[in-house]
């Protein structure tokens, strides 16, 4: 008698992801004849959670799904998922659970329980155009490491044509879609943490946070960063087109950049001010509550199988995501890959200083309050301090119910 488990997954990077997932599922089923895995492509992350929660609300959710790590609180509040700890019984299981990078687990645990298992995880890094560095008289092998250095470098990298119009910006930090995530690269560097672990308290009006935002706004004012809100989706293209010399974006873009940048480029850790650091991001596995114990067990087995080092390494190379465990980087395949293409290791190296992606109860609503504040500051309709104060007030109002 076979146990059938449905598995929703989103696709957030290019390439034949669906084929890779189907391949994993087939391999898994070969190894575990009693289980039938049914992978279901469910669109983008947002579409996947809409699909999963719609199904949950009508009583027939998937057994497991990859969803954003930041959706944890939402899923808990909807009473949609069960803690992973329920299934961790043997020592082997415990070792497995302990093998993930701590940075990734920060978004997967709350209230002493583990709710998600890291799968396709990422972090923000800085890509830079080495040729532009050389042209500007900068050392292409020594990317800026601090805010001050970055601002200087950006100033040198900004090029204008005869009419005074900028033809190449020094640095670009996109601010559409999920500005809060990029903003965390600055707050983390300024040694500020935006929320507490329980997801019930935010600190937007912390002076360090305001200072970070001020820095971002000042980059624009200094004329080294494009004005207004910068589109996330076109940022890589801006980089390829040499319209920008340094860009902040996800490690998930590595394969893309490698394929399309027609110049020598470098990947660097995010420059810091008081410290270094960057938020993690990406998706975790969750197991849904409204499925049979047998299915949940089977799903757990599948999750454990697919996050084994070899597969994590393969997945990382296929997609550009960060492999989720130390051991994955120990595999031959990934080691060789890292040697041939050192930029692939930058994200890993940044993990020790990485922090959890911003996530709270009623996550999207609170996030939106922050996003709106950031965009207001970046488009100049509010001062950074005012924007963060308003965002804080709104977040407090929303989170009141969860205290």
């Amino acid at each position: 008698q076979t146990t059938e488990i449905s598995f929703f997954y989103p696709v957030a990077v290019g390439g034949p992801i669906a084929k890779a997932i189907d391949g994993f599922a087939t391999d898994f089923m070969k190894a575990n004849p009693g289980i039938k895995v049914n992978p279901i492509y469910a669109g983008t992350y947002q579409e996947t959670i809409v699909k999963a929660l719609t199904a949950h609300k009508s009583g027939t959710p998937p057994v497991t799904s990859v969803l954003l790590s930041t959706d944890m609180f939402t899923l808990i509040d909807e009473d949609a998922i069960v803690p992973i700890d329920n299934f961790v019984k043997t020592a082997d299981d415990k070792a497995w659970l302990g093998s993930f990078y701590k940075a990734f687990m920060m978004n997967s645990q709350t209230g002493g329980k583990t709710w998600g298992v890291p799968f396709q995880r990422s972090t923000v890094v800085m890509y830079y155009n080495k040729e532009a560095f050389k042209e500007a008289g900068l050392d292409a092998n020594k990317p800026p490491a601090t805010w001050a250095e970055m601002k200087d470098a950006a100033a040198k990298l900004t090029k204008k044509d005869a009419s005074g119009k900028v033809t190449q910006w020094g640095v670009q930090i996109p601010s559409s879609g999920f500005p809060y995530w990029l903003f965390q690269t600055l707050t983390t560097g300024n040694d500020a943490i935006l929320m507490n672990d329980a997801g019930t308290q935010v600190k937007f009006d912390d002076p360090k946070v305001i200072e970070a935002l001020q820095y971002w706004v000042d980059l624009g004012k200094a004329g080294v960063h494009p004005p207004g809100v910068v589109e996330w989706g076109t940022t890589p293209k801006d980089f390829f087109e040499k319209k920008v010399a340094m860009m902040f974006t996800t490690t998930g873009n590595l394969t893309n950049v490698k394929a399309n940048a027609k110049f020598d480029f470098g990947v660097a850790m995010i420059p810091g001010n008081k410290r270094k650091g960057s938020p993690t991001g990406g998706g975790n596995f969750y197991i849904f509550k409204k499925s049979t114990p047998a299915q949940q067990e089977a799903a757990f087995k599948f999750i454990k199988w697919i996050t084994q080092p070899e597969r994590a390494a393969e997945w990382s190379m296929d997609t550009g995501y960060v492999a989720v465990s130390e051991k994955a980087y120990g595999t031959d395949a990934l080691r060789k890959y890292g040697r041939d293409f050192p930029p692939a290791l930058v994200a890993r190296d940044q993990l020790p200083v990485s922090v959890a992606e911003f996530s709270t109860h009623d996550n999207q609503r609170v996030t939106k309050a922050l996003n709106d504040g950031l965009q207001a500051a970046l488009t100049g309709t509010k001062s950074p301090a005012q924007a963060m104060k308003d965002a804080q007030a709104e977040a407090d109002r929303i989170l009141r119910a969860y205290k």
Binding site: D77, P226, P227, V229, G233, D238
Partner: protein, 297 residues
């Protein structure tokens, strides 16, 4: 007499209802029933996990009243509708007048105007994204060549909504054009000749004859345009996601965020109810009131 007539009448009634039945059953099952339950839900709190929904009366409506984003969306939407409706109808009319005449390349023009209707919005929005991209986007390439300064179209609060509006107009005008062309074809050609003999210019003829006679079509198109003015949001998802800072949030997009991002289904229901009531009254007003006034025949 009445007995005779009544017999026929009731027989016909049964027959008519039988014909309507399949369509009505489906409408009720997939439109009215969900709509009613949405209406009911709007008076309860959002069920979360184990917390069941409780009766909260008008609480959700009060929250709506206090929600600045809602009001921003209302304002934006009014602006958006206020711009798309006249622009798309006006362009549609101009297009229809052109392709209704013997203009050079009529077949090509007709096809060109109509293509937006055939292309999927989700995909086309990405193309528009390119058009608006700063520095190397198509628009910038043109303005750049003209020596105009660069502008971040979607990244600026003052232009984002206008850009969204333009895309909507592009999508709509060709569709409406078809209705106008159809109506123009039914106008008696000798009216134009009569006007020509009287010495009316094209503009005068349009103003005094064509336009009033197209009134029923304009109303039909208007109602569609009003509805679409509140229903078209596909492109917002790709282009601006409502930003920057809600500068391009439309009601339905806000509704989507509340319902499927915040999962505040009760509050979403309240917004839905408001939206549906407003739109339904617009449409019913047209069909049952205005319709009778603008028909000349």
């Amino acid at each position: 007499m009445s007995a005779r007539a009544a017999g026929h009448q009731s027989h016909a009634s049964i027959h008519a209802w039988l014909l309507l039945l399949p369509a009505l059953v489906l409408l009720v099952a997939f439109t009215h029933w969900p709509a009613v339950s949405t209406f009911v839900d709007s008076f309860y709190s959002t069920p979360k996990g184990s917390r069941a929904a409780v009766w909260v009366g008008l609480e959700n409506y009060r929250a709506m009243n206090d929600d600045p984003v809602f009001w921003k969306a209302v304002r934006n939407n009014l602006w958006f509708a206020g711009a798309t409706i006249p622009l798309s109808i006006g362009l549609a009319l101009v297009m229809a007048l052109w392709v209704n005449e013997r203009i050079a390349g009529r077949a090509f023009l007709r096809m060109a105007y109509f293509t937006p209707t055939v292309l999927p919005m989700i995909a086309v929005a990405n193309i528009w994204l390119f058009f608006y991209t700063p520095q190397y986007g198509l628009l910038e390439q043109v303005t750049g060549a003209l020596g105009l300064p660069s502008h971040n179209w979607f990244g600026d609060q003052s232009t984002a909504l206008a850009c969204i509006t333009l895309v909507a107009v592009w999508k709509e005008a060709g569709f409406f054009m078809i209705f106008y062309v159809a109506a123009l074809q039914t106008l008696n050609p000798s009216l134009r000749e009569a006007a020509a003999i009287e010495g009316a210019s094209r503009w005068y003829f349009f103003r005094r004859v064509q336009w009033p006679l197209l009134m029923p079509t304009t109303l039909f198109v208007l109602v569609n345009a009003v509805i679409n003015g509140f229903r078209m949001v596909d492109h917002v998802f790709v282009l601006t996601r409502g930003g920057p800072d809600n500068a391009s949030t439309l009601l339905l997009y806000h509704l989507y965020e509340v319902g499927f991002k915040f999962w505040d289904t009760a509050y979403a229901s309240a917004i839905t109810v408001v939206l549906v009531v407003v739109l339904a009254s617009v449409a019913l007003f047209q069909f049952f009131v205005l319709d009778k006034r603008v028909h000349y025949k």
